[in-house]
């Protein structure tokens, strides 16, 4: 099970507690989280289901590259961090 941790900054809008979920890609993992927490989806993904412009995701310390399809691999021991990007000010 991968661990998913959300930035503290998102918590004041929508509670996003740390969770452990199964999945092989960032898309798998996040969609599983959003299935239980549907309001969080629009805070992380845009209208086209891509990562929002000023949100970043790290898997085991590496920033993901595929922001549109979220195909970066996740393994059972991974930690996925969802942060707000500095680019957004």
């Amino acid at each position: 099970m991968a661990k998913v941790v959300f930035t503290a900054n998102i918590q004041r809008y929508v509670p996003c507690p740390e969770v452990e979920v199964a999945g092989h890609t960032v898309r798998d993992v996040l969609e599983t989280v959003f299935a239980d927490n549907p309001r969080a989806r629009g805070y992380v993904l845009d209208d086209q289901s891509a990562l929002r412009k000023h949100v970043t995701v790290f898997v085991d310390g590496t920033m993901i590259r595929d922001r549109a399809r979220l195909s970066d691999a996740v393994c059972t021991t991974s930690t996925v961090y969802v942060f707000q990007a500095l680019s957004g000010g």
Binding site: Y13, G42, Y43, D46, D47, H54, A85, G88
Partner: protein, 366 residues
């Protein structure tokens, strides 16, 4: 007369109320958040607030009586596979709500209907008080939509929505930049309006092209819907035929540049503006903050200054930040430097409510 104002600002939604003949801030909601616009629906008392969280996107909240709840924000449809659309710089145009820039109530015969204009140019309608939204694809898919450009922002946006008080199916929207668009069948089809407007910022061949017009604000007189007023990027224009044709008002002092315009609810020849020096500076002329008022369809203007700062004032008033109440006597406007002024005599005199608000985006009587 309305005793309540909603002030949308860069750092929250402020409610300002009149008590004992004084106006004061009585509530603050969404403190710290960017509120791009709000709506108090006069038909049912519902309130709506559009938020832009920057990192986390555009959100919409609704209040009935017992506080605010987040509801669905208008969302763009999935881009078809393989479809590419570029902005003016050749970058992919995101089909995603970048800002909610207009919220307007539908007609009295369609309770719960709300219209919403957005950047990058999508128009949306809800028929259930904002619980769900439908994009008006006929306008988004109109081939001319791709000629819309940014104006003030990189992306084009719908900022003005006028619902015909005689027939709710007839709706005008104005785009910065993309001119005026009209439907007479509730959005099933659209035609361009706005012949007679003139654009100084395009090649001469395009000067009078209706789609090239940077309408800053479009308003319609409720009692005389044939009359529409436009504050345009390079002038003031007035229409007497529902926006089909416009005549330019020239020679207005201190300037014809500005963002907002409001029209009296029963007197179509009476309108107010907040002028400033155009592109090259965008500050009030001479550091004097003034409101201009015409009562004769633009033949003459009063320059209203009593109670407004007349020295070193650098307040800009955005297109939604000048409001007139339904009775047509009380005016209010807010500025980019956090000033809020109210007039109870059609602009003859003004009282400063505060000058320490966050930058003001929109002002509305509730």
């Amino acid at each position: 007369m309305s005793d309540t104002l909603l002030i949308s600002t860069r750092k929250g939604l402020f409610t300002v109320s009149r008590k004992a003949e004084r106006w004061a801030i009585t509530a603050v909601d969404f403190l710290g958040d960017n509120v791009s616009i709000a709506l108090a629906d006069p038909r049912d008392g519902y309130r709506y607030a559009a938020l832009d969280h920057g990192h986390f996107g555009v959100k919409l909240h609704r209040s009935i009586k017992d506080g605010w709840e987040e509801i669905a924000a208008p969302a763009y449809p999935p881009k078809p596979d393989g479809y590419e659309e570029k902005d003016l710089w050749g970058r992919p145009l995101d089909w995603s709500t970048a800002r909610i820039w207009a919220l307007e109530a539908g007609g009295p015969d369609e309770p719960g209907t709300i219209w919403c204009g957005t950047l990058p140019g999508g128009l949306f309608r809800s028929t259930d008080h904002g619980t769900s939204w439908e994009m008006i694809r006929t306008l988004w898919d109109h081939p001319k939509r791709k000629e819309w450009m940014g104006g003030g922002a990189d992306l084009p946006g719908i900022h003005s929505i006028c619902v015909d008080p005689r027939n709710s199916k007839r709706v005008w929207v104005a785009v910065s930049t993309g001119g005026i668009w009209f439907t007479q069948d509730a959005g099933a089809s659209w035609v361009q309006r706005g012949e007679g407007m003139r654009a100084e910022y395009v090649a001469p061949e395009l000067t009078n092209d209706p789609v090239a017009q940077d309408v800053h604000r479009l308003v319609q007189c409720p009692a005389a819907p044939h009359r529409m007023w436009v504050q345009h990027h390079n002038g003031i224009f007035v229409s007497s035929d529902e926006g089909k044709t416009f005549a330019e008002i020239t020679g207005v002092e201190p300037s014809v540049f500005g963002f907002p315009v409001v029209v009296h609810p029963r007197e179509p020849d009476t309108a107010w503006f907040v002028p400033e020096i155009k592109d090259e500076k965008r500050i009030p002329r001479g550091g004097k903050l003034v409101v201009t008022r015409t009562r004769d369809r633009g033949k003459s203007f009063d320059v209203l200054t009593r109670g407004l700062p007349q020295s070193h004032a650098y307040d800009i008033v955005y297109r939604h930040a000048l409001a007139l109440d339904a009775a047509g006597n009380r005016l209010a406007f807010g500025s980019t430097t956090g000033g809020l002024w109210v007039s109870e005599d059609q602009g003859d005199s003004w009282a400063c409510v505060t000058h320490t608000l966050p930058p003001v985006y929109a002002v509305q009587f509730a």
